[in-house]
């Protein structure tokens, strides 16, 4: 199991806690809690085939621009593909309301 910490610039704090997904094979869960404005911190616990480098690249695409809300995000993944990861992240962002 790999653990990875990432940090990105962000806007105002997320408005609520959000949970999406399930740690089934090929899937992941995402837990989001509001954080202080300006920073988003992401912790990833992953088993499976995606390298830490690819995880970083996938999340960079979504958060590097700094337009997302500030949050603490935790991801627990079990062999999820980048496609499934981005789908779950989109669901989570939808629920966070950004």
């Amino acid at each position: 199991m790999e653990t990875l910490h990432l940090e990105y610039p962000a806007t105002a704090p997320a408005r609520q806690r959000v949970l999406v997904g399930v740690v089934a094979s090929g899937d992941l869960e995402i837990l989001i809690e509001p954080a202080t404005a300006g920073r988003t911190q992401i912790t990833i616990h992953a088993t499976g085939s995606l390298s830490p480098d690819l995880w970083r690249k996938q999340l960079d695409r979504l958060f590097a621009h700094g337009a997302a809300a500030a949050m603490h995000m935790e991801i627990n993944a079990f062999g999820a593909t980048p496609g499934v990861i981005s789908l779950r992240l989109a669901q989570a962002m939808e629920e966070v309301g950004t």
Binding site: V23, E29, L31
Partner: protein, 289 residues
């Protein structure tokens, strides 16, 4: 129902099997009353899976949801079949046992809390073996305790089914609801085949497996009290109806003499099949000792 009506029904009904554990709990509770306890943000990860490099889930695959059931205080315990096959380890097991213990305590204090268990489990999580087994014993203890005050209702919807020590928990429930896709059995097909050979049990023969442990057979032979379609609303209504009925006159687990009598009439010289089981258990008239 005409074929056209059936199609319209297929397109509109809310599947229960499709829902995750949290959604299932929500769909049974009175609207707007769902409140999760010891939830994912309490981050109750299994300490034992992480130590074995296995992916963990923040709720360890068990949801405890308080709320109202037809206006009465209630708690739903839902197992997430998608995480580790719904297997129970220390944390998930403690959530189930602990919540049932709290419900019994409520009743002792004059607050008649009800409980529904949504089974979707292969039983003990082998990576936490003895702590899973211990937790399941505590779940059994808590169901028996709570049954002294309130009916405890079990639902096995599928697609995992209910196996291992948790099938015993299902056997302790006051009422059991199943769908046709659900299975209920002590030992999983693979394990039986490994232990006893393919002639005894062919774990790849799905119709055979369902003919013995599927919802339809379990209902026909009296091991389940309701066989329902995969329809969240029908399941909700049936749960409420069983609560309204109160305790069963004579729970299955107390019918020792009847079951012993029926089993004594089994011809064990030949191997059994679904038909034979139905014949043995069709004598429902004398069920009350």
């Amino acid at each position: 129902m005409s074929h056209q009506q059936e199609i319209a029904h297929l397109l509109t009904r809310q599947s229960f099997i499709e829902q995750g554990a949290r959604e299932r709990a929500r769909s049974l509770l009175d609207s707007g009353t769902f409140r999760e306890l010891a939830g994912p943000f309490n981050r109750l990860y299994s300490p034992w899976l992480a130590a074995q490099d296995i992916a963990t889930q923040a709720d360890d695959g068990v949801i405890v949801a308080k709320g109202r059931l037809d206006g009465h205080a209630g708690v739903i315990l839902a197992i997430e079949g998608g995480f580790q096959g719904g297997s129970l380890g220390e944390v998930g097991g403690a959530k189930l046992a602990g919540a049932l213990e709290m419900a019994a305590e409520d009743n002792r204090r004059g607050n008649p809390t009800r409980a529904v268990i949504l089974f979707e489990t292969g039983g003990v999580r082998l990576q936490e073996a003895n702590l899973g087994l211990a937790a399941i014993a505590e779940i059994h203890a808590a169901i028996v305790d709570l049954c002294r005050y309130q009916p405890v209702i079990g639902v096995i919807a599928g697609s995992v089914g209910c196996f291992g020590g948790m099938s015993i928990a299902a056997g302790l429930c006051s009422y059991l609801i199943m769908t046709r896709e659900a299975r209920l059995g002590l030992n999983g097909p693979q394990v039986i085949e490994q232990e006893a050979g393919i002639d005894e049990y062919d774990s790849h023969d799905r119709p055979f497996i369902w003919s013995l442990s599927g919802g339809a057979q379990r209902h026909t032979t009296g091991f389940a009290d309701a066989l329902l379609e995969d329809d969240a609303e029908q399941i909700r209504r049936q749960v409420m109806q069983f609560f309204a009925q109160g305790q069963p006159a004579l729970p299955r687990q107390l019918r020792c003499r009847w079951y012993q009598q029926r089993l004594a009439s089994v011809d064990t010289a030949r191997q059994t099949d679904a038909h034979m089981v139905r014949a043995i258990f069709s004598h429902q008239k004398d069920q009350y000792e």
